[in-house]
């Protein structure tokens, strides 16, 4: 009796398992279905529109867009790529975030397979490369730029123009503060520690010597304890009076609100913040400027730091590699780039694509002319502890008054040199 019951249970279980077994990309007739994984749940509609264009020119391929929660995505993708139910094409994190997948050998190197990559910006391509083998594993889709957004009306009301020199900027901040307006919307609260290195980049990139200093760091000629880097940290301490009061208790939504409601005049942030700010107040007139180099800077022209957001890569275990490669090849074309830029209001990594939004277009122009790598993110996320993790904690301590710029630089160096070997 019991035996029959158990056998029955096993039978039911087997049927259930078979029903949810991964199908892979099954072909109906000779049409191939590719699955495309992403962490952008909010972009489903846009991708459907973008991919419909692809399917029109590639009638034998159907692409299924499958987004996952961004915070869970890394784990889901790692599991998916190591099993048989993974994607054919996947959105990949950039720089350090990409390495676990590369080192596990789950991705197809695209060198020689996607010719258009040779035309991409070399700085952005770094985000899609294996750190050890130097091969390209994805087609970069977007990049972010760092600059100061400003409220045009507040500037006009207070007789201020986008500053041409550092001193102009400080004078403007002083005038705004006197008028009861928070000059810089900067958060350093619990959710904002990741933005502190960004704020440092915006104000301090030129001061520490930009790309030239980064090259010296990577070759081992210089360390973070260099006086120029320390001076770039000191800038944040100098600017603190122009940040919101109790900046260490201020969160990101607070500063977005301060800026969107006209209580703060300048917002040092990434291009990614333009859409949320305008969503909070569509009538806000926003401009953007690059921070003029502070006195004593080794680099005397303004810079726009930036980084690659991520890329699209091909699963080495995909049953439809030829079709998957066809898709990522299309993702390197201006057709995709233009669609991506206009549908998602982001800066496309495809060369020659100009955003339709004039402000984004200006940011793209600035990056093309004066782009510089955001080195803590781009180069120091390959090991534990990663550079910006140590840096943000120490900067927060400095803003409270618990430590000094020199000690911040020393901690950063001490943290990263445990795994970072110059000249690698």
């Amino acid at each position: 009796m019991i035996k029959r019951w158990i056998a029955g249970a096993i039978g039911v279980l087997a049927v259930a398992l078979a029903a949810c077994a991964p199908g892979g990309g099954e072909a109906d007739g000779d049409k191939v279905t590719l699955s495309l994984w992403s962490w952008r749940v909010e972009d489903v509609k846009a991708y459907e529109k973008i991919l419909a264009t692809f399917e029109k020119s590639h009638p034998k391929i159907h692409v299924e867009f499958k987004p996952f929660q961004a915070t869970e995505y890394n784990t889901i993708l790692a599991t998916g790529l190591s099993g048989s139910a993974g994607p054919d094409v996947a959105q990949l994190r950039a720089y350090g975030g990409l390495q676990p997948l590369v080192e596990a050998g789950r991705l197809v190197p695209l060198d020689g397979r996607v010719e258009a990559l040779s035309g991409f910006d070399a700085k952005l391509l770094e985000g899609a490369k294996g750190h050890k083998d130097g091969k390209i594993y994805g087609v970069p889709f977007a990049y972010q730029t760092l600059q100061v957004l400003y409220n045009k009306k507040l500037f006009g009301d207070n007789g201020i123009r986008p500053p041409a020199t550092w001193d102009d900027m400080i004078a403007a901040a002083g005038r705004l503060k006197a008028a009861g307006i928070t000059p810089f919307a900067v958060a350093a609260g619990p959710d904002a520690t990741w933005t502190l290195p960004i704020v440092h980049e915006i104000f301090g990139n030129a001061r520490y010597g930009s790309a030239r200093f980064r090259d010296a760091l990577l070759s081992g000629a210089k360390k973070f304890t260099d006086p120029d880097f320390t001076a770039s940290i000191t800038l944040l301490k100098d600017l603190e009076p122009y940040f919101p009061k109790n900046v260490v208790a201020v969160k990101i939504p607070d500063v977005q609100a301060l800026f969107a409601t006209g209580k703060a005049a300048m917002y040092p942030t990434g291009s990614f913040d333009l859409a949320p700010v305008l969503a909070a107040n569509p009538s806000l007139e926003v401009g953007a400027f690059q921070v003029p180099p502070p006195p004593g800077s080794p680099v005397t022209t303004p810079v726009t730091p930036g980084w690659a957001d991520g890329s699209f890569g091909v699963n080495a275990g995909s049953a439809h590699q030829a079709e998957a490669l066809e898709l990522v090849r299309w993702m390197a074309t201006p057709e995709f780039g233009q669609l991506y830029a206009s549908e998602l209001k982001q800066l496309s990594a495809v060369p020659g694509v100009t955003p339709s939004d004039p402000l984004l277009a200006e940011m793209a122009k600035n990056y093309a002319a004066n782009g510089a790598p955001y080195t803590l993110l781009v180069d120091f996320r390959y090991g534990q502890p990663n550079g910006d993790a140590v840096f943000r904690d120490e900067v927060q301590k400095m803003l409270i008054g618990q430590t000094e710029p020199k000690a911040v630089a020393e901690s950063l160096q001490k943290g990263v040199e445990q795994w970072f070997k110059p000249g690698d």
Partner: protein, 320 residues
């Protein structure tokens, strides 16, 4: 065979129930297996996996060879984890001490008051226990909104009342942040020790108290010498559960102080450190190191709970 026969005879004699019905093993298995299976798959297996992972070197999601105690050494030797580990441990200990002092003392006080003055008991019990129907993440989020220095109502009220010197950046000051988190945690959970103490108080026969009073004991003496000792079992349970909860603290602290234990790590706890090592900072070593930390936390919490449990059992036995 003889032995089992004697054993069951002795058991029958002890229970005094004569012959007991013992189901056949197959019947037992049908009842026990589902629970055992779930327990193994969802508790034992992950624990063993973490232990296994912690002994390997990791390159992302790929094991790269046996590491022995390498991951454990990293936790104690690699900057800044070597400092953060002890700092977080210290905060967990403070969290526990503060919770025992505030949450459990108030829990006992409320239980005593409700026990003595029965009016509105049901309502008050329900009111005190409502906050723990809400997830700690939500509680933390709500309180961080209330305490927001720019837009929060707490500081606006203080300002309006002319107490602007009291309108501190509560969660942005290294001196106040951890105490605030402890108080909010106590606010959420105070109903729990209250319920346990209420139940224990209801179980103490009123005669004991009356006898003490007849013998001339003051109310305070009666509480100290009669009630409190008889609450030992409840105090033991509350202490151990508080310990386990506090050393595993995560959601509330994460919601109020972010993954870094803001400001400047002044609220950092072991749960946050684990979260950062495992999920936030990435790096190819993440799995090995975070597993090692998880194992350490488990061994410590499990070990201390066992010791505390046996300590309180000894105390109880002395009572009898």
């Amino acid at each position: 065979m003889v032995q089992t026969g004697r054993l069951s005879a002795r058991r029958a004699a002890r229970t005094g129930a004569g012959r007991r019905y013992v189901p056949r093993w197959r019947v037992l298995a049908v009842f026990l297996l589902p629970a055992l299976l779930l327990y193994s798959v969802f508790i034992v297996y992950p624990l063993v996996t973490a232990l296994d992972y912690s002994f390997f070197e990791w390159r992302g999601i790929r094991q790269a060879g046996f590491a022995g105690l390498g991951n454990y050494r990293d936790l104690f030797g690699v900057y800044p984890y070597d400092q953060q580990l002890w700092r977080a441990f210290g905060h967990n200990a403070l969290f526990f001490a503060g919770t025992m002092l505030i949450q459990n003392t108030f829990g006992l006080l409320f239980a005593l008051l409700l026990h003595r003055y029965g009016r509105g008991k049901r309502f008050l019990q329900a009111a005190f226990t409502t906050p723990y129907l809400v997830d700690p993440l939500v509680v933390g989020y709500l309180w961080s909104l209330l305490l927001n220095p720019t837009f929060g109502p707490v500081n606006s009220l203080l300002d309006a009342a002319g107490l602007d010197s009291w309108a501190l950046p509560w969660l942005g000051d290294t001196r106040t942040a951890l105490p605030i988190v402890i108080v909010v945690n106590a606010w959420q959970w105070v109903g729990f020790p209250m319920l346990l103490f209420s139940a224990a108080l209801a179980g103490i026969p009123a005669e004991y108290h009356e006898a003490a009073r007849v013998d001339g004991a003051s109310a305070r003496q009666a509480f100290r010498r009669v009630t409190l000792p008889l609450l030992t079992p409840a105090i033991g349970v509350v202490s151990v559960l508080t310990f386990i909860g506090n050393f595993n603290a995560f959601g509330l602290v994460y919601a109020m102080a972010g993954s870094t234990g803001s400001p400047a790590g002044s609220t950092d706890v072991l749960g946050l450190l684990f979260y950062r090592v495992a999920f936030v900072e990435g790096g190819t070593e993440a799995i090995g190191r975070s597993s090692a930390l998880a194992v350490l936390m488990f061994v410590f919490i499990f070990g201390v709970s066992l010791l505390a449990g046996s300590y309180f059992r000894r105390r109880e036995r002395r009572l009898l």
